[in-house]
């Protein structure tokens, strides 16, 4: 009797034994020489079970939102489980090989079943062409993509409430040679880089790093940048004036709610980039629009 992702979510007690049986069979299949090691089999199964619980699928019921995993077909879901088992099995095989390496080096490698060893099938590239395969690749992407970099500028701008922390960050950018970013921040804030020594610099730097990290991972920061960018795209010249207008519905497009747009607009008001008092039509002066464009759209 098959089980589905839906069963794991809503009928956990009933479907867990079926899941266990499926994972067990696959774990033995991929663990090769370790297939009779109950500890290794348990560890592989345990990893996948924990992952399904963490993702809110196993035992999640209606309390956790559905994800892409719930929308896989049954066959796709089994493949997903099987592949997850395979990856963990490879991980365990690698760990065990490392542990016996010292002895293995003294022995000749006469493994007749090398072609069947899952380790050999993954020597070239386990992850293939996975985007953001390393954190380093990801940070380069974050630094080079305009929208993502705009979030960074937004968060640095938010540091202006703590001048010492902001100075610490500006000094760091200068030392790193990140000139374009530094210039755009200085232009926006009209703040020259201070060459005076800042007392407790490392402390200010630590605090600034923490604030930046927090800000960068906040959905509200991203929302503010999205709304700012949309203001630069969708505003139109108001009839008979030099001002620009756009309604909230236009800013929302198909992927934001009006409440989300309002939150973004509120943040821009707090940052001093906008005058808005909750109206459904947002008014901008030419100067405000230019400033938004300069800071969020391009450096």
């Amino acid at each position: 009797m098959p089980f589905t992702a839906h069963d794991l979510r809503y009928q956990t007690e009933h479907s867990y034994p079926l899941l266990y049986a499926y994972l067990h069979r696959n774990a033995q299949r991929y663990l090769g020489a370790l297939k009779y090691d109950a500890f290794e089999v348990d560890t592989v199964i345990g990893h996948v079970v924990e992952q399904l619980v963490r993702l809110g699928l196993l035992g999640g019921g209606s309390q956790t939102p559905l994800t892409a995993l719930d929308r896989l077909t049954d066959a796709q879901f089994y493949t997903f489980l099987s592949r997850s088992v395979r990856n963990k099995a490879i991980d365990r095989l690698r760990k065990r090989h490392l542990q016996v390496n010292a002895v293995a080096e003294l022995e000749t490698n006469d493994d007749e079943n090398a072609d069947n060893d899952p380790l050999h099938s993954t020597v070239e590239s386990l992850w293939g062409t996975t985007p953001f395969a390393t954190p380093e690749e990801l940070t380069l992407h974050l630094a080079s993509q305009n929208h993502l970099r705009a979030v960074l500028r937004h968060c640095i701008l938010a540091l202006s409430a703590a001048p010492n922390q902001l100075q610490a960050i500006l000094q760091e950018l200068q030392e790193m040679g990140a000139d374009t970013l530094l210039q755009s921040i200085q232009t926006e804030l009209q703040l020259p880089l201070s060459h005076e020594p800042v007392m407790h610099l490392s402390q200010h730097k630590d605090h600034a790093h923490k604030k930046l990290r927090y800000c960068l991972q906040q959905q509200s920061s991203n929302l503010t940048v999205i709304v700012a960018l949309r203001l630069t795209i969708y505003t139109k010249t108001a009839t008979g004036s030099n001002n620009y207008t756009v309604d909230i519905q236009t800013l929302a497009q198909h992927d934001l709610t009006e409440d989300m747009v309002r939150k973004g607009l509120d943040e821009l008001v707090i940052a001093g980039l906008l005058d808005w008092h909750g109206e459904t039509i947002v008014h901008l002066t030419a100067v405000q629009l230019k400033r938004l464009g300069r800071f969020y759209k391009e450096e």
Partner: protein, 350 residues
């Protein structure tokens, strides 16, 4: 042309410098964690259970976005970076979540590729009772740990996710009832009381107070090692109280007690209570009593059950706790009741 090349090169250098700096900003220091493999091994040898590989302080809100994020990448959604910018900044600094992302990306990309042959279903056990109990215990621990992560996140966001955490704890209790070995069952629920106190408005058990008597179910069927193999006493024998009625044995340090079933009524029997309690009515608190509700509690509130009579001159108290359709004589139902009574506190009613 040379100017264009030079400009592009300069922009790349600038991006590279910003990226290098960003790595310092977003990096989340690795927690000091003991080697999970060795923990699992030693625990496995002694208790026949598998300990958790992930702790409950992982980054739940980011982790649970990963499947949708990966699917958006696989479908080449043009809005993916716009929508998931905070997650991208998190992944750049968190090795654990990044590793989970790689794992999911690989499994999901394989899953959605058209393939001729699909994995067949496993053949094997089909009931919880026939599933290895160490793996049931591991599932219980995972569910309890997840409930803890949710409650911590709720506290962080100042939100109320009690219903979500509660349903996970209920599921853990229900599954644990299928574990027949009491030591494995105890291991499965070892964090239950601690996590249950994280609920909004709940207070931690006052075990340190000398005026509070904290009773827990007495351990039966303790396993022991003999030449590397675990042997266990049979636990199918139902314990019986003084009147040959089915009972759950309790203990609080050197004190003993029991919960005796008379028909549908569960009655608390305590002995040798301190002089200070004698002649006084006591307040009984069952910490997990409101978590699942197969018992209609005396007075309605399991956190404050007032004894119907005072402790007698010999330190004996017999008082009803509530009514239930469960039967202590049924193994799984007894296990469920044992989980509910994981912590029972008694104190004088001032």
């Amino acid at each position: 042309m040379n100017d264009y090349m030079s400009s592009a090169h300069s922009a790349y250098d600038d991006d590279a410098q910003v990226a290098k700096w960003l790595q310092q900003i977003v990096h989340i220091p690795q927690r000091d964690r003991i080697d999970s493999s060795s923990t699992i091994k030693s625990s496995s040898e002694h208790l026949n259970t598998l300990e958790l590989l992930t702790q409950s302080d992982y980054h739940l809100p980011f982790y649970q976005q990963l499947p949708d994020f990966v699917m958006a990448l696989l479908q080449n959604d043009s809005q993916v970076e716009l929508q998931y910018a905070p997650l991208l900044y998190h992944l750049a600094g968190c090795r654990e979540c990044h590793s989970a992302y790689l794992d999911l990306y690989d499994a999901m990309s394989t899953a959605i590729q058209p393939q001729g042959q699909r994995s067949l279903l496993g053949q094997g056990t089909r009931t919880l009772a026939a599933t290895p109990h160490r793996m049931l215990a591991h599932l219980c621990q995972s569910l309890i740990s997840q409930a803890e992560a949710i409650l911590r996140q709720a506290r962080h966001e100042r939100a109320n996710y009690d219903a979500s955490a509660r349903s996970l704890l209920q599921l853990a209790i229900q599954i644990s009832a299928h574990i027949s070995q009491s030591t494995v069952r105890r291991q499965a629920l070892q964090d239950l009381v601690r996590v249950a106190t994280l609920f909004d408005g709940h207070t931690a058990p006052d075990e340190a107070s000398p005026d509070v008597y904290a009773y827990t179910p007495a351990v039966t069927g303790t396993g022991h090692m003999r030449r590397g193999r675990t042997t266990r006493r049979s636990e199918t024998t139902i314990q019986r109280g003084q009147e040959d009625l089915p009972a759950l044995q309790l203990q609080s340090h050197s004190l003993e007690g029991s919960i005796v079933q008379k028909g549908q009524t569960l009655e608390l029997h305590l002995h040798d209570l301190a002089e200070t309690l004698r002649g006084r009515v006591v307040l009984i608190s069952i910490l997990l009593g409101s978590l699942i509700e197969p018992i209609r509690w005396h007075g309605g509130n399991p956190r404050a059950i007032r004894s119907t009579n005072p402790v007698d001159a010999h330190g004996v108290l017999i008082t009803p706790l509530g009514q239930t359709d469960l039967h202590i004589e049924n193994n799984e139902e007894r296990n469920l009741l044992e989980a509910i009574f994981l912590l029972l506190e008694v104190r004088a009613l001032d």
